[in-house]
Amino acid sequence: MSSLLKLSQVEAYIQQFHILHDINFEVPKGEVTVLLGRNGAGKTTTLRTIMGLNPVSKGSIVFKDEEISNQKPHLIANKGIGYVPEDQGIFGDLTVGENLRVAMKREDQETTERLEWILDLFPDLKKFWKKPGGQLSGGQKQMLAISRAYVNENDLLLIDEPSKGLAPIVVEKVMETILQMKEKTTILLVEQNFLMASKIGDRFYIIDDGQTVHNGLMGELKQDKALMKKYLGVS
């Protein structure tokens, strides 16, 4: 198993609060790795720390065999990591088209093909191409946020709770899309919706109180009811 991303003994603070105590995991290339855990466990902070939006106080983050901890976020992004934040981060005054084009690092044939592929997946984005991003529905915003991260040829996508606040039918659509993206890229997913996580994920890591406490293949987790109840509140 060749790992694309590896976090070892990562610790991080937000102001004076010690949020991540000991995070260890690997993201194998070509797979979907899911970070699970209760609210406030440190999942979002872990993604933000990988992106350099939160400083690492201890430990290492290695991406494609290169240490990236505490590098500037724009440099990390340019190494091939796309990030879909929890709040989607849509630029409300830019149109759907501008939101996508602002993210495009190149406007070559390959990027155009990726854009066309994503627009076929989300026809709503094509339909509302000239509509300001701020006027989209929650589901459309999520689709735009995912598309914006995917439009460049990133080696790794970090997706933070894509199902949050969405109607079940939209969650289905988002799930289908991530499953299709899985064929083309590596994904690190943070997800509270266990049903969705279990359908998409290949392997999981459970984070509790800022530490990775369990990991394994997603199939194993589905069988372990006691573990799910203890850390995820799923019975």
Binding site: P73, H74, I90, V102
Partner: protein
């Protein structure tokens, strides 16, 4: 052929510019011509502020500093050297370079921090330039200011009017092109969500410093035109009032629109002119800043997007409402 390839809005803007170009040949009153020239100059100044506030979300409390740099540098040059066209060009170049350097330094020092640091440092720098202009009398003649000669062809008020109008049109289309380019999209993205823009791989500081430099250059150029129109300069060009005026022009007209600040400049200048004329009617009209403050509060409450922003928003809502009826029909 060229006209055919232009967008509808560009054609409208060009049409208005042509009407304004003909205007001085119809209107003979020098005071009206002078007032419209001032509107053109302040419109350029307000557009420079809109680049910062409207497009990038950066607040400056000392934008008058760049205006003053443009005015003083050119005035000092014209006063010390001959009033030839060549000397004027060199003076403009020096003024613009000086403004670029100052805005670069202020930008690099503060734009990596939260935006209020930029606001506070520009305020401090503007204060510094004001004090320097007051105290360095051998160069600036302090509060009294000084008059100077300008090249022969610029002594005619109609020429100044046309030069200011041409500069306004060129700068407007230049800035419009810039704000609609990929660079402009990144500026809006920074204003909307700076952290997200960074995570997309943009070195945000570079963009912010660059836009601060462009804004400083345009503001200094407005200062150059202002000085040429008056043929006189004093420390009032560095005053906080000038920054307040430009802030009002931008907010009342509509931030992030470029056209809004032009409209705002016209409204504020006309109001200035009108209120000054009422000074004999009641003492309140001498305290125009009180009236401006009231107008500002009302605009923020009732037109938070400014005039142009509100009109655009109404139009887009109107067209949205039309869609279902079209389908129904």
């Amino acid at each position: 052929m060229i006209l055919k390839s232009m967008s509808k809005s560009n054609l409208i803007y060009l049409g208005v510019a042509v009407i304004l170009l003909i205007l001085p040949f119809i209107l003979t009153g020098r005071s009206v011509q002078f007032m419209i020239t001032q509107i053109f100059i302040f419109a350029i100044f307000a557009m420079s502020y809109d680049l910062l506030l409207g497009y990038t979300g950066i607040i400056s409390f000392g934008h008058a500093m760049f205006f003053g740099i443009g005015a003083y540098t050119t005035a000092i040059f014209m006063d010390r050297y001959d009033a030839s066209f060549g000397a004027l060009l060199v003076a403009i170049l020096v003024a613009v370079l000086f403004a670029a350097i100052v805005s670069f330094i202020v930008g690099v020092l503060t734009l990596r921090l939260k935006s209020h640091f930029y606001a506070m440092l520009t305020l401090a720098f503007a204060g510094l330039f004001l004090v320097a202009a007051e105290k360095w009398r051998s160069l600036t003649q302090g509060n009294d200011g000084f008059t100077f000669k300008v090249p022969e062809f610029l002594r005619d008020s109609t020429t100044i009017y046309i030069v200011s109008l041409v500069c306004l049109v060129l700068i407007f289309f230049g800035l419009r092109r810039m704000t609609q380019s990929p660079f402009g999209r990144v500026l809006v993205a920074i204003r909307e969500n700076e952290e997200r823009t960074i995570s997309l791989g943009f070195k945000v500081l570079h963009y912010k410093v660059l836009v601060s430099v462009v804004s400083g250059i345009v503001a200094s150029f407005a200062g150059v035109l202002y000085m040429l129109s008056l043929r006189f300069v004093n420390t009032s060009v560095f005053a906080t009032d000038v920054t307040i005026d430009v802030l009002l022009m931008t907010i009342i007209g509509g931030v992030g629109t470029l056209v809004g600040p032009i409209l705002g400049a016209a409204l504020i200048e006309l109001a200035h002119h009108w209120i000054s004329g009422l000074a004999n009617v009641h003492w309140i009209f001498e305290r125009w800043i009180i009236l401006y403050g009231t107008v500002y509060i009302l605009v923020v409450i009732f037109f938070p997007l400014g005039l142009v922003g509100t009109i655009r928003s109404k139009l887009s809502n109107g067209s949205k409402q039309k869609i279902p009826s079209k389908k129904a029909g």
